[in-house]
Symmetry: C2
Subunit: 214 residues, 2 copies
């Protein structure tokens, strides 16, 4: 089994996509799946599927394939989404509120334990939803991270303050940031950053749409 840092990032990304497929198969009551079927819908070869799982040990049996419930659990275990991960949100604007309402978090083992903002009009407000949170000032972040053992933070603040808030998150002990602000973060410390940049996505589409002619 390879050390985590030896596994290529694209392989990890594909594990997420395999998991999505496995969950769909499981929902449909399917018991076994081949590398070929698993890769097919993602446009990935069966050899690639076997190689990706190969980083994490021995899976499946020749001629039989993978058992769907077992493989689902093992992939969740590899990704770490079989455990609860405490998440904090910084920035309770429109996007922040959308993130609070997003049901996919809980389904993947992510529990939002606090929402922080520096707008006096937002601090103390209860968020909507089944598990309401009271918005706290950003200055509380270190104590929130400590008391809830938070590892991952969602950054949904305006671009001009994103860099400073992100560094504060890292200094408070956060180890992974999902960044929604349209800036490139440069952070000191041991932290993984994943950025959701809508502008980049839109530019890709603009290019492809105009490249398609007509």
């Amino acid at each position: 089994m390879a050390a985590a840092e030896q596994v290529p990032i694209p392989a990890i990304r594909r594990l997420s996509l395999y998991l999505r497929q496995l969950e769909a198969f499981q929902g449909a009551g399917r018991q076994t799946v081949s590398s070929r079927d698993l890769g097919h819908s993602l446009g990935v070869s069966d050899a690639q599927v076997r190689k990706d799982f190969g980083y994490f040990g021995q899976f499946g049996r020749p001629g039989v394939g993978y058992r769907v419930p077992e493989l689902t659990e093992r992939v969740r275990g590899i990704l770490g989404t079989d455990k609860k991960t405490s998440v904090v949100l910084v920035g309770v604007g429109n996007l922040g509120r959308a993130l609070i309402a997003y049901r996919g978090f809980a389904k993947r083992g992510f529990e939002l334990v606090a929402a922080l903002d520096d707008d006096p009009g937002k601090i103390g407000v209860r968020t909507p939803g089944p598990k309401p949170l009271v918005v706290r000032p950003v200055a509380d972040i270190a104590s929130v991270v400590r008391s809830h053992a938070v590892r991952v933070g969602l950054l949904a603040v305006p671009a001009p303050v994103a860099q400073q808030v992100a560094q504060l998150m890292v200094d408070s002990g956060i180890r992974g940031i999902l960044n929604f602000a349209p800036v490139m973060l440069r952070l000191n410390g041991d932290v993984s950053v994943s950025s959701v940049d809508l502008a980049v996505h839109l530019e890709q589409l603009a290019f492809q749409v105009s490249a398609c002619g007509a």
Copy 2:
């Protein structure tokens, strides 16, 4: 100059990132930039920067570098964001409302011309913001696409209906979809899909955070 379909997708993605940097340089009043400076902050080599621009013709001068305002305009021209692109939003839930409020669209030449939803409680409601839109039923999509020459659609509907709505978008003439629903779309027709999958991002972070130990 390479045909658009010969340019690798990662090169297009880097063009977006170069553009972000160029805009920052321009904002700071800088007049020229070298391949090296442009690549440096993105962790890209100067040779890669030159190769990426090389797909689109001759840029810059040896020893002088690139003129920032000129290069900015040319990259916008390549990506197609120098022109106005009409965009339609389908799904006016929490995420849809966040997208309506997102200022990055207009800045990149994307104009939201319509917001559609099938919830009778939402149809007819005016969206907030400086250019309010009245939410229309999804059935109006073909006429909206025709009357505004819409090329790109934002898909922010719940997962169970995403596939069906996306195909309706394509059938109505939409050529690029930015998909926020956590499903893999399989569409008939000439369409580019870019997916923003929060679950995948979170799983990547979960893996990296748990792989970092502690």
